[in-house]
């Protein structure tokens, strides 16, 4: 934590973990898509499932997926805003197992893609993204983040890294599915990279998303 995180941030109430944190998890998905998804399903676990109405967690999640700012007072009208913008959405209570009590799984569809992100709100607006498309990870969104679905084949990573001209802070590469020979690569960077569109031309890359780091204070 730093000085500004103690004195701020400016946000919409009532709770930094149940409102701001929840909104940041869905805004991560919005940033990944780069647009508002066409449809989204929220699976709420634990305390998120039990108390989401009284904390406005549901409204915050909807506001995040539409890319609203964290201190936008329209967050409380996010249901009608979502209907106006034609977003298909649903909320479901679920048991995600032995995870943090404030966890949500978000399944979103856009432009022919479907992605699933799971994250938890750990207090003071801080979050952890814990799963992307079923693959475990541990992202606090303090970095510019590159998320790549690539072919599970030799040399794939080095081809990807050829295009990464920024310093790498953390890197994950995990197999998603052996039969489909798909893997997920997540790269946390100290600064954004120049040519993200070039990465899509690499033959080992199937999908590529860039999530700019989140200055929430």
């Amino acid at each position: 934590m730093n000085l500004l995180e103690v004195i701020g941030p400016v946000m919409v109430g009532p709770s930094s973990s149940h409102t701001l944190g929840a909104m940041r998890i869905s805004k991560f998905v919005y940033s990944m898509a780069g647009v508002m998804p066409r449809a989204v399903q929220f699976f709420l676990h634990g305390s998120f499932a039990e108390t989401h109405k009284g904390h406005g967690t549901d409204k915050a999640l909807l506001a995040g997926i539409m890319g609203l700012k964290y201190d936008d007072e329209k967050i409380k009208e996010s249901y009608s805003l979502a209907r106006m913008r034609g977003l298909e959405f649903s909320f479901e209570k679920t048991d995600l197992g032995a995870v943090h009590p404030n966890t949500v799984r978000i399944k979103a569809q856009w432009a022919g893609y479907e992605n699933e992100v799971e994250g938890c709100s750990i207090g003071g607006g801080m979050i952890k993204i814990t799963k992307i498309n079923g693959v475990d990870c541990d992202l606090d969104w303090h970095y510019d983040t590159l998320i790549i679905v690539n072919k599970d084949e030799p040399g794939a990573l080095s081809k990807i890294l050829n295009f990464v001209n920024a310093n790498i802070a953390n890197l994950y590469l995990r197999r998603m599915n052996l039969l489909q020979s798909k893997a997920l690569t997540i790269i946390e960077l100290d600064s954004p990279i120049d040519k993200i569109s070039d990465l899509l031309k690499v033959d080992s890359v199937l999908e590529c998303y860039f999530v700019p780091k989140d200055d929430f204070v």
Partner: protein, 292 residues
């Protein structure tokens, strides 16, 4: 960094205490002191603007357990309180109720305790005509007090109880008053210590788990604790136990608190018969939230 070390640095550096804080922050995380100060200025302006807008208004909160307390106090003629305390108290109630209705707030240091520090800032500006530049310096000092607690204990009720939220907010608020009126870091540390001692052991027991009862009114009482502490310190009264030791004691208290008393909505007033009833019947028609 321990608060006493910051004061030592200040004594050697021959610079303003708020500058010493910004420089020590820079040495820790590389942040630009000028940029940090600019951001604090933005936060201050936002606080003042939000206080002006929310003062004495009534709100429709998410669970309807509060919403008109700030309004009631604002239209009441104070019989016991001085003007400064009165304005700060109305502001604290109004901000906390705005927070409970998904209004825009500055989470200084947390959303649940967002009434305390901004209310003090607003009262100093409005009633004592303290310059904005002095308030920026003082907000930086208050931030260092909060950061001391955050790095040793936590400022989350779920981790260390309400003493970590309202307690920290009160320590920040009293420090802010003392620094803006005296510019004396030693006095600041006494104010911070006395505030935490006054609220040590305070449990986090929100009814139904929601940031309404008793959180909203705790913001209002806390702001008065902060003013009382600040007045004592300005008179030369000291804390016998130094601030850093008080923070460590508070950490121990936090660790020994059972889970029921840490934001789970299971202990304290949250476990009372009335609280259970309200939780089961989220918005009972027979229940009037006015005046609790």
């Amino acid at each position: 960094m321990k608060f006493a070390e910051l004061i030592d640095l200040y004594k050697k550096a021959n610079q303003k205490f708020d500058d010493v804080i910004l420089i020590s922050q820079m040495l820790e995380d590389g942040s630009d002191p000028l940029q940090t100060r600019k951001n604090v200025e933005k936060l201050l302006k936002t606080m003042l603007e939000i206080c002006e807008k929310s003062y004495g208004r009534s709100y429709e909160t998410l669970t309807h357990l509060c919403g008109s307390n700030g309004f009631l106090l604002a239209k009441h003629e104070a019989q016991l309180m001085g003007e400064f305390n009165y304005v700060a108290t109305v502001t604290a109630l109004s901000l906390a109720e705005s927070n409970a209705s998904m209004g825009r707030i500055v989470a200084c240091p947390t959303a649940g305790s967002c009434g305390v520090v901004p209310a003090i800032v607003y009262a100093l500006r409005k009633m004592k005509k303290v310059e904005e530049s002095v308030l920026i310096d003082s907000l930086i000092v208050a931030g260092a007090v909060g950061l001391s607690v955050a790095s040793t204990v936590s400022i989350s009720g779920a981790v260390a109880g309400c003493q970590a939220e309202i307690g920290t907010a009160t320590a920040m608020a009293s420090s802010l008053v003392v620094y803006s009126l005296s510019q004396d870091p030693e006095k600041v540390s006494h104010a911070a210590a006395l505030s935490l001692k006054s609220l040590m052991g305070l449990v986090c027991d929100p009814v139904g788990g929601f940031v309404e009862v008793p959180c909203v009114k705790r913001n209002a009482t806390a702001v008065n604790v902060a003013i009382c502490v600040a007045e004592m310190v300005l008179a030369g009264i000291k804390s016998v136990i130094p601030f850093d030791e008080v923070v460590e004691a508070m950490a121990k208290v936090g660790r020994s608190m059972p889970e029921e008393l840490r934001e789970t909505g299971l202990g304290g007033v949250a476990s009372t018969k009335t609280a259970q009833f309200l939780t089961e019947n989220n918005k009972p028609a027979s229940y009037s939230p006015l005046g609790e």
